[in-house]
Symmetry: C2
Subunit: 355 residues, 2 copies
């Protein structure tokens, strides 16, 4: 049998409570006895209070849960996600909390929901989970503090989030390209439609896009491009099955292989944009000359690739998310954070070539 508090208590000849105090409130007993207890614990191989039992009684776990849409394993393939995680991790670490990564595979929604039900945590951070995912209802009903990693569509006074002004940021991208003279424009994005298919899709109105971030960014793209007289219906929309480099390349093919090839391809994330660049390279097209390409997020790789993109402070975003959970500010207004963004112009965008 594994030793418990009681085992140690019996060995020393004190009560269970006293042993408990030896661990959790060392000031409540004499140093001599405390030492005697620790010594006995060592001898018996007692590893200290059982975390599960302790959590049950205390009502605090010492871990925060991070929900990812995509299969947990994807989380680590997107550098932007990794940076965000790093930010949360730093904060959690300072608080002595762990980070519980909760898998939310999309194919089996029920499994993800179960995972959220079973997650022993003190709060949730919701990262890139579409608003309609059932797991969100569970986080809500569990009544734990929850922070979203982007501004949700509906914001109540209790809602906590840390995000950016997606529309405004995307608008600067659109405007930048409009001013460069781009009129034939394609957009590469995931979540344009409900299905996970790769290829051109038609969407009558951005409002039809269900995934918040995608919708806002596309809206912003369109608003910016309107400066050059490009309307929503002029956009060539290419859906990517997932947010990955390979899918970015595949989705871009449908645009690049047209006879009326677009002069610019706007990707909704850097990862997709890198894929678009791959597709260009495979066709011998020069980014910024033959076709302009933009991304979103400014991941480290974007610098090397010379990608024009929107910079947002990913690590800081994570850190703030962690802080909102672990030391929630009194002031409700401070629980809703919008971070600044910048358009970073690099070589992947340039003026339309005159023919």
């Amino acid at each position: 049998m594994k030793p418990t508090l009681q085992t140690v208590a019996d060995a020393v000849g004190v009560s269970r409570s006293t042993v408990s105090n030896a661990y959790s409130r060392p000031d409540q007993l004499s140093p001599a006895l405390r030492e005697k207890i620790h010594e006995a614990a060592r001898r018996l191989g007692y590893p200290g209070p059982d975390p599960t039992a302790r959590s049950l009684r205390r009502g605090r776990v010492g871990a925060i849960g991070v929900l990812f849409t995509s299969a947990l394993s994807y989380a680590f393939t997107d550098p932007y996600a990794v940076q965000f995680l790093r930010g949360i991790a730093e904060t959690a670490e300072r608080h002595g909390s762990g980070l519980l990564l909760v898998p939310l595979s999309e194919s089996e929604e029920e499994a993800g929901i179960q995972a959220v039900r079973n997650a022993a945590v003190d709060g949730f951070c919701v990262y890139c989970v579409p608003a309609w995912h059932g797991a969100l209802d569970v986080t809500r009903s569990r009544g734990l503090p929850t922070v979203a990693a982007e501004r949700p569509a509906e914001v109540g006074p209790e809602t906590m989030y840390v995000g950016i002004d997606e529309v405004a940021a995307a608008r600067t991208v659109g405007g930048h390209l409009a001013r460069l003279g781009h009129r034939r424009v394609a957009v590469v994005s995931d979540f344009l439609v409900a299905q996970r298919r790769t290829g051109p899709v038609s969407v009558a109105d951005p409002a039809e896009i269900r995934y918040d971030v995608t919708r806002e960014r596309l809206r912003g793209f369109a608003e910016g491009l309107a400066e050059g007289g490009v309307g929503w219906s002029d956009l060539l929309l290419c859906n990517a099955g997932t947010n990955s480099r390979a899918e970015g390349a595949r989705a871009a093919e449908y645009a690049l292989d047209r006879v009326d090839r677009p002069t610019a391809v706007l990707a909704v994330t850097d990862l997709l944009a890198l894929g678009v660049l791959d597709a260009l390279a495979a066709r011998g097209l020069r980014p910024g000359r033959d076709v302009s390409v933009t991304g979103f997020d400014d991941i480290p790789e974007a610098t090397a690739a010379g990608l024009t993109t929107i910079r947002q402070p990913a690590v800081e975003k994570g850190a703030i998310a962690g802080r909102l959970l672990l030391e929630p500010p009194e002031d409700p207004a401070a629980r809703q954070v919008l971070l600044p963004t910048d358009l970073v112009v690099r070589a992947s965008t340039g003026p339309v070539e005159r023919k």
Copy 2:
């Protein structure tokens, strides 16, 4: 008051056990009653059985803990670590388990030890934690299944690990350089000495190096280089404060700025090697021509950088570690896994230039 099983039971007019069964063993009650219970739960806002209480009673948590030496936040900066994590994550996900990242800051060992004590998990994966770290004693005393991400110095019949033959792999690196004619050789590595300082250090014998992986790799380097008559004492050892690109560059400076500049720099990880390349670039030195550089791990960036390195299957390593924890093989021999490695020769190594 938050609703519990009892609340729901009272509302429906059945016993607590029955409600519990409705969630955990749906086959134990009639469909009609089950639906009635779920309906009542929904009405009352009962989110399902409390994970903590359930874990206590069941004795199973549904999460595995991953221990990192370096501050949790570093974990995400090393692509190799990220890949390993991805491998574990995939396995965990399939088992419906979460992944609890446990911070082990090195500056405050006690904090890390507490974190391990408090971690509510079913098993531990120990990743790059030096053998002398106090947290390892705690994992042992907790009596949970534990798998190491490298072969430990002492292997008992119960020990589980998934690693590579570090010495043999490093030997191929040393041999490769020896055959290219390199005789003046520097090594860039973290953990060469106990202190976290950056710069040249002297170590009389590899056996003095406390950190297992570092010791084995250096031993291997030396064995391989011996083929060219290079002895241990001929090696110029440069310690890096951490396993990071920046420290790799800083440590390399001490070697590169000498009058008798080494013709080859062996780094103990790819991340450090990339830093060495940075240092070369800053001095206008050509990798593979003026100075040969090698890494270890074959992270994705190594390909682009043209780095000669040792490939080891990082994702698979993680996946196996996860499998050892979640579905431990009957056969004890199968609990100790050594994966194959390859020397990948790229442009960063070349023959010594004749003067």
